[in-house]
């Protein structure tokens, strides 16, 4: 079997007395789309936050490309290709669309102080701008290039958020509910794009409540409930698992 690109091992994270993630273990095979699902408050976002270095784990560890990365700062992880997006729409609202994506090119567009001052970074900046423009084209945002990000309709903002993340050259991309607030047409298009991203060789982790999207996209799904692993398997296996149905019905029951 292939070496996993990401391994989560007995991971826990608590907030005060609350166990948001509890002894969670799973691994992600490179080149796949790996889903994480679970009812509201199951700990999915917290898991992403720990993997991406926003929170330190309370115990357990995370291994990425064979290296223990638990507790390493977010920007360091981004430099080595572990990139996450945010559950709520998070953009540089005051920036133009293109500048959002240009900022995403931060790591690949590194340059020294003097060369920036003297304009010797022109070439690497041109490369970054080109990359940003290609990404806008990929997400069908080219027409909105110079629009202020805050003026975009919601669906486009979510797409822009993914473009910013892709600009950072991820090896693995953690998407937190990328399809929320999108109409079915937009969701379908974004699903195609997500597959394209995987086919470019980028491993994708996907937290999403839209079950049709999850089942349609994922190669493997990890199901969480109350911070713990409930089950894991292919979409087919997960869909028919009585425990999963129970968890979702239970929470739906709660909500009503």
């Amino acid at each position: 079997m292939t070496q996993p690109i990401l391994e989560v091992c007995d991971l826990s994270r608590n907030f005060g007395g609350l166990l948001a993630v509890n002894q969670l273990s799973f691994s992600v095979i490179p080149g796949t789309i790996h889903g994480i699902i679970g009812p509201n408050g199951a700990g999915k976002t917290t898991t992403f936050n720990v993997i991406s270095g926003f929170y330190a784990p309370s115990s357990g560890h995370v291994t990425y490309l064979g290296k223990d990365i638990s507790g390493i700062r977010t920007d360091r992880l981004a430099e080595i290709g572990l990139i996450r997006t945010f559950q709520g729409t998070t953009l540089f609202n005051e920036f133009s669309v293109i500048d959002n994506v240009r900022l995403g090119c931060h790591v690949s567009a590194k340059s020294g102080f003097l060369s920036r001052l003297l304009g010797a970074d022109r070439e690497s900046e041109a490369v970054a701008t080109k990359k940003a423009e290609d990404l806008l084209a990929f997400f069908n945002l080219s027409d909105l290039r110079d629009e202020e990000a805050s003026n975009l309709p919601h669906g486009h903002q979510r797409a822009l958020g993914m473009a910013v993340a892709l600009a950072a050259d991820p090896k693995i991309l953690l998407l937190d509910e990328p399809f929320t607030g999108m109409n079915p047409e937009e969701t379908a298009r974004m699903m195609t794009l997500t597959r394209d991203i995987r086919d470019r060789g980028i491993t994708v982790m996907l937290v999403e409540h839209d079950m049709q999207a999850v089942m349609g996209l994922c190669d493997m799904i990890t199901v969480m409930n109350f911070g713990s692993l409930l089950t894991e398997g292919t979409p087919k296996e997960v869909r028919t698992n009585p425990g999963v149905i129970e968890a979702y019905l239970g929470s739906a029951h709660h909500a009503s």
Binding site: S52, F54, R73, T74, D75, A78, E79, I83, R84, T85, F86, T90, L91, F92, N93, E94, F95, D99, R102, L103, G104, H106, V107, A109, S111, F113, R116, L117, G119, D121, E125, V164, A165, A167, A168
Partner: protein
């Protein structure tokens, strides 16, 4: 195409401005020439302050940092005999280095806490100046600071000559600060201000970039302090107290910090109002009151600062003309 046109407009505007600045001292009285020297120094101070505000953090220690540059340059030249031009550079570097050190405690804080933290750090530095008579001269400070050496027959005791010296130093500094802002550094500073979490998630080391902005701003604040010290010949802790800091804040707020030129407009306008108009009327001793009134008025009636009237003026001029005449465009403020 329109881009190259605006570039030309900017150049024409800059050259006109430069010509105006070059003849300016010839049109002024002796005391007004002194005011012009301090104004140029204050322009550097407030523009460097703005660089810091790009990252979203407002410091109350900027004037003290200016003082660090002033004290350091004075001490290097007076006690160690370092030639003044070099001591100015060393003074500025000392201010920058101070910022590097202060970054570690200060950037654990944000927003209001940063504001208070920077104020406290500044007061600590001022206490050190006051407490240690050696080498800082205590509450009386330092005097008989060596002045800028003559170059040939040019004596820098003459405010006109010192004005030109400052003009050169400050122009080069502003150019550097402008380049920094227009480069990816500027984009990253803005990004930190609006969404530091997102910036982090694409690989920005937020601490390093905050430190970079703070250090650069402090270097140039220190340089302005050095220019000040070797002109006036004396520095003391009171000169760099929080009241002076409030003036810097008012220049920045009244001018507006959204554009590079906003704070410059602010400091120039308020200096003209206070040191030229009011002094002529004999009212200049009530500067704090005037500044307070101007601040309140500008917050109430012009929340985006003086800088916001230029785009409005431009639009007004464009609106008046049915056909945009290319000729007159050159004269407009970019």
């Amino acid at each position: 195409m329109s881009d190259s046109k605006t570039t030309i407009t900017v150049w024409i505007f800059a050259l006109t401005l430069l010509a105006g600045l070059l003849v300016l001292p010839q049109l002024l009285s002796y005391s007004q020439r002194e005011i012009a020297v301090f104004l140029i120094i204050n322009v550097l101070l407030v523009v460097s302050y703005r660089l810091m505000t790009l990252t979203g953090e407002w410091s109350l220690g900027h004037v003290v940092i200016m003082g660090v540059g002033a004290y350091a340059s004075a001490l290097f030249s007076k006690r160690l005999g370092v030639p003044v031009p070099l001591s100015m550079f060393l003074g500025a570097s000392t201010a920058g280095l101070t910022a590097v050190v202060l970054s570690f405690p200060l950037f654990r804080m944000k927003g209001f806490y940063f504001l208070i933290g920077s104020f406290a750090a500044g007061e600590v530095i001022r206490l050190i100046w006051k407490y240690f008579t050696f080498p800082f001269g205590g509450a009386k400070g330092l005097n008989l600071i060596p002045s800028f050496p003559d170059i040939g027959w040019i004596s820098f005791f003459d405010p006109v000559n010192y004005y030109y010296l400052c003009l050169i130093v400050v122009s080069v500094s502003l150019f550097i600060l402008y380049r920094v802002e227009r480069s990816r550094f500027g984009l990253t500073f803005h990004a930190l201000h609006w969404q530091d979490k997102l910036a982090e998630s694409v690989g920005v080391n937020t601490f390093r970039y905050r430190m970079l902005a703070f250090t650069l701003a402090s270097f140039f604040a220190g340089l302005s302090g050095a220019l000040y010290a070797h002109y006036i010949g004396t520095v003391n802790p009171t000169r760099f107290d929080v009241e002076e800091m409030v003036y810097v804040l008012i220049w920045a707020i009244v001018g507006g910090t959204a554009t590079f030129y906003g704070p410059i407009v602010g400091v120039v306008a308020l200096t003209i109002v206070n040191d030229v108009l009011l002094r002529a009327l004999g009212f200049d001793t009530i500067r704090p009151m005037i500044y307070g009134a101007v601040l309140i008025a500008s917050v109430l009636f012009m929340p985006d600062g003086l800088e916001s009237i230029f785009p409005k003026l431009k639009r007004l001029m464009m609106g008046r003309k049915t056909e945009p005449a290319t000729k007159s465009e050159a004269g407009e403020i970019p």
